[in-house]
C-alpha cells in the first residue's frame, strides 16, 4: 500500500503553493484506497496557517514544529524527515519547488536511497506505473518519466497544479517530535538578508511586471517597473542581466535558474527573451512585451507586443492605468 507525504515548510510560498501540492497529491493517489498526508516542518505555525493546511483534503496533518527550524539547515531537516518517513512507513514524498524543497528533499532521498523527480508539471496515475511530465533543457522539451520504484520523491511546480480550490474537510492534526536535539549537524546557520517587499510574492502573484538591463539603475527600475506593478497590484520580476548589474534584487530573478512563474498577466519590459528567461515565464496566461527591437525573441511568445522605448511607454501606461 502506498503512503504519500507532502512536506511543507514555514518559509514556503504560502497557501497557493500548498494547495497546488495537495492537488498534485490528489491526482497521484487517485487509484489508491488511502489518500495523502501533509507534514508541516518549521517553527510553530499560526492558527490561521494550521486551519489552511487542514482544509486541503489530507487524511492527516502532521506538525513537526521546532523553533530550531527557524534557522533551518538541510543536514538537520533531511535527517528529521528521514526519521519520520521510516517510523511512519511513507514511501512517496512530495514538496514544492521552493528553496526548501530543492535543498532538503534530494538530501533526504539520498539518506533513504530513493530516486527523485524534479519540477513535475503533470502526473498520470491511471496506469500500472505512474507517469510524470517535467520540463528539461530550459523548458524546450518535456520529458515523460515512468516510475516503477515503489519508493520515490517529487518536487512539484505549483503553477502547473493551480486549480479552483474547494476547501475540503478538516484534517485531524498530530504533533510529531522533530528529534532535532539528538542531531548534530556540520552546518551552522549564520544569518540571512531578506528583502522586504510590500508587493505580492513573485511566485504566486496574479500579475508580474519584469524588467531587463535597459532600466539602467535601481531607481529607474523601482519607478517604472515598480510603478506599473503597483497600478496592477502585481509583483516585480527581473532578468538575470538586471540582477547581475545591480538593478534588481536576486530574489526577483525569473528564469531557468531563478523563479518560474505563470501569472494571469506577465509584462516583460526591456527584455529580449533569452531561452533561460523564457523558461521562467512562458506558461503565463497573457504575455505582454515592450521592446525597442521588433526582432526580439520575447515577441515570439507575447500575446500583445509594443515596439517602443520603455522609458516613454511605461510612464504612459502608468498614467493610463492608474
Amino acid at each position: 500500500m502506498s503512503k504519500l507525504l507532502c512536506l511543507v515548510d514555514s518559509a514556503g510560498a504560502g497557501l497557493g503553493a500548498q494547495a497546488s501540492l495537495a492537488t498534485f497529491a490528489a491526482d497521484l493517489c487517485i487509484n489508491w484506497d488511502s489518500g495523502f498526508s501533509i507534514c508541516y516542518v518549521g517553527s510553530e505555525p499560526s492558527a490561521e496557517s494550521m486551519a489552511d493546511l487542514c482544509s486541503l483534503g489530507a487524511m492527516e496533518v502532521l506538525v513537526m514544529a521546532d523553533e530550531q527550524f527557524a534557522r533551518l539547515t538541510a543536514d538537520a531537516a533531511a535527517e528529521a524527515i528521514r526519521t519520520l518517513v521510516i517510523a511512519e512507513g511513507y514511501n512517496i514524498l512530495a514538496a514544492d519547488c521552493s528553496s526548501f524543497g530543492r535543498d532538503v528533499l534530494p538530501r533526504a532521498c539520498a539518506l533513504l536511497d530513493i530516486p527523485m523527480i524534479s519540477d513535475v508539471i503533470a502526473v498520470d496515475a491511471t496506469g500500472p506505473a505512474p507517469m510524470f511530465r517535467r520540463p528539461v533543457c530550459a523548458g524546450k522539451l518535456i520529458a515523460k518519466v515512468e516510475v516503477t520504484s515503489t519508493r520515490y520523491a517529487c518536487t512539484v511546480r505549483a503553477s502547473a497544479f493551480r486549480r479552483e480550490r474547494v476547501p475540503s474537510g478538516n484534517s485531524p492534526v498530530r504533533r510529531i517530535d522533530s528529534g532535532l536535539d539528538g542531531i548534530t549537524a556540520g552546518t551552522e546557520w549564520v544569518g540571512a538578508s531578506h528583502v522586504e517587499s510590500k508587493r505580492p510574492d513573485l511566485s504566486n502573484a496574479n500579475v508580474v511586471v519584469s524588467g531587463g538591463r535597459p532600466l539602467r539603475d535601481s531607481e529607474t527600475y523601482e519607478r517604472l517597473i515598480g510603478g506599473l506593478a503597483d497600478c496592477l497590484h502585481g509583483a516585480t520580476g527581473a532578468t538575470r542581466a538586471a540582477v547581475d548589474s545591480g538593478i534588481a534584487a536576486n530574489d526577483l530573478q525569473v528564469g531557468q535558474t531563478g523563479k518560474v512563474v505563470a501569472p494571469a498577466l506577465y509584462i516583460a519590459a526591456g527584455i529580449s527573451g533569452s531561452i533561460q528567461h523564457l523558461a521562467g515565464m512562458k506558461d503565463s496566461k497573457v504575455i505582454v512585451a515592450i521592446n525597442t527591437d521588433p526582432e526580439a525573441p520575447i515577441f515570439s511568445v507575447a500575446d500583445f507586443g509594443l515596439v517602443a522605448d520603455l522609458h516613454t511607454a511605461i510612464p504612459e501606461l502608468i498614467s493610463l492605468l492608474s
Binding site: 518559509a11 538541510a74 533531511a78 528553496s99 530543492r102 535543498d103 528533499l105 534530494p106 538530501r107 532521498c109 539520498a110 530516486p115 527523485m116 524534479s118 519540477d119 520540463p135 528539461v136 533543457c137 530550459a138 522539451l141 518535456i142 520529458a143 515523460k144 516510475v147 516503477t148 520504484s149 520515490y152 556540520g186 552546518t187 546557520w189 549564520v190 540571512a192 538578508s193 531578506h194 528583502v195 511566485s203 538575470r240 547581475d244 536576486n250 530574489d251 535558474t257 498577466l265 509584462i267 531561452i275 533561460q276 512562458k282 504575455i287 505582454v288 512585451a289 515577441f299 511568445v301 500575446d303 500583445f304 507586443g305 515596439v307 517602443a308 511607454a313 501606461l317 493610463l320 492605468l321
Partner: protein
C-alpha cells in the same frame, strides 16, 4: 587541500532541439560544452587557488568517451588532473551520486564544488544527494565562498527564494554553485596546449561498484504546447486596454 569538481558534458543551450521519430532527443550535429554551472564551480576553485589557497583541483566526469573533450577544457581552465568515468548510459541523479561517492572514497577531497544543476536534465539534485550519501554538510546555490585559513570550515553565502542566507559548513563539505559565484574565464590557446600534458585517468563504472537500478525511466520527450501568434499594437493606449482586459 584537495578540491573535487564534478562536471557534466551537456548540449550547448543555444543548439536547436529536435525530436527523433521515436520521441528521443535528436543530438545529431549538436555542439557539446561543459555544463555552465560546473564551469562556474571550477572557475571558483581556480580563483581560490590564485588567491593563495594551497589546493589541488581534480575534475571528474561520468560520461561517454567524448566527455574527455570537456575534461580537457577543464584542465585548460586550471584543473590539475582529470578522472573520466566512462559510461554510455544516461543516469538518474541518485545513480550519479552513487558513482561520485565511490570516486570520493578514493580521492578523499576536502571540498566538492559543483554546479547546482545541469542545464539539460535541470534536476538540481546530484550535489545534495552526494552530500547526503557521504553524510557531509551541504551549502547549495552558493554566491560566495570563504575558506578558513586552517581549511576546516567554509562560510558560504547562498541564494534562496527570499534573498540571501549565510551558512558555515565544516569541511569536508559539498558546495553547489549558483550563477553569480564566478564568471568563467576565456581560455587562451597556450593553456589549451599545456593541458594536453596534464594527467587524465580512466575509470570503469564497474570499478566503482556498478550502477544500481533505481526504477525511474525517461520513456520519451515531447515539445511543449506552442503559443498562438500574438498581436503587435500601435501605441500605449491600445496596450493599456488589453492590460485592463487581462486583469479583469
Amino acid at each position: 587541500m584537495r578540491i573535487l569538481v564534478p562536471i557534466k558534458r551537456t548540449p550547448d543551450p543555444n543548439s536547436l532541439v529536435r525530436l527523433t521519430a521515436d520521441a528521443q532527443i535528436d543530438l545529431d550535429g549538436c555542439k557539446w560544452i561543459v555544463n555552465p554551472f560546473d564551469e562556474i564551480a571550477l572557475e571558483e576553485a581556480v580563483r581560490q587557488r590564485e588567491a593563495g589557497l594551497d589546493a589541488e583541483i581534480v575534475v571528474v566526469s561520468i560520461g561517454p568517451e567524448e566527455a574527455a573533450d570537456q575534461l580537457r577544457a577543464c584542465l585548460a581552465m586550471g584543473a590539475d588532473r582529470a578522472i573520466h568515468v566512462c559510461c554510455n548510459r544516461s543516469l538518474e541523479p541518485i545513480q550519479t551520486a552513487h558513482l561520485l561517492a565511490a570516486v570520493v572514497a578514493t580521492e578523499q577531497p576536502d571540498l566538492i564544488l559543483m554546479g547546482k544543476q545541469a542545464i539539460d536534465g535541470d534536476q538540481n539534485q546530484t550535489g545534495q544527494m552526494l552530500a547526503g550519501r557521504l553524510g557531509w554538510p551541504q551549502a547549495t546555490f552558493a554566491s560566495t565562498i570563504t575558506i578558513s585559513d586552517n581549511h576546516t570550515t567554509a562560510v558560504v553565502e547562498r541564494e534562496v527564494d527570499t534573498g540571501r542566507e549565510t551558512l558555515q559548513v565544516r569541511l569536508p563539505a559539498v558546495v553547489t554553485a549558483d550563477l553569480r559565484l564566478a564568471e568563467p574565464r576565456y581560455v587562451a590557446l597556450p593553456a589549451i596546449i599545456r593541458a594536453r600534458n596534464k594527467p587524465m585517468a580512466n575509470v570503469a563504472v564497474d570499478d566503482l561498484g556498478g550502477v544500481p537500478d533505481c526504477g525511474v525511466r525517461t520513456v520519451g520527450y515531447e515539445l511543449p504546447p506552442s503559443r498562438a501568434p500574438g498581436v503587435m499594437l500601435p501605441d500605449a493606449a491600445s496596450l493599456a486596454a488589453k492590460i485592463r482586459e487581462a486583469v479583469q
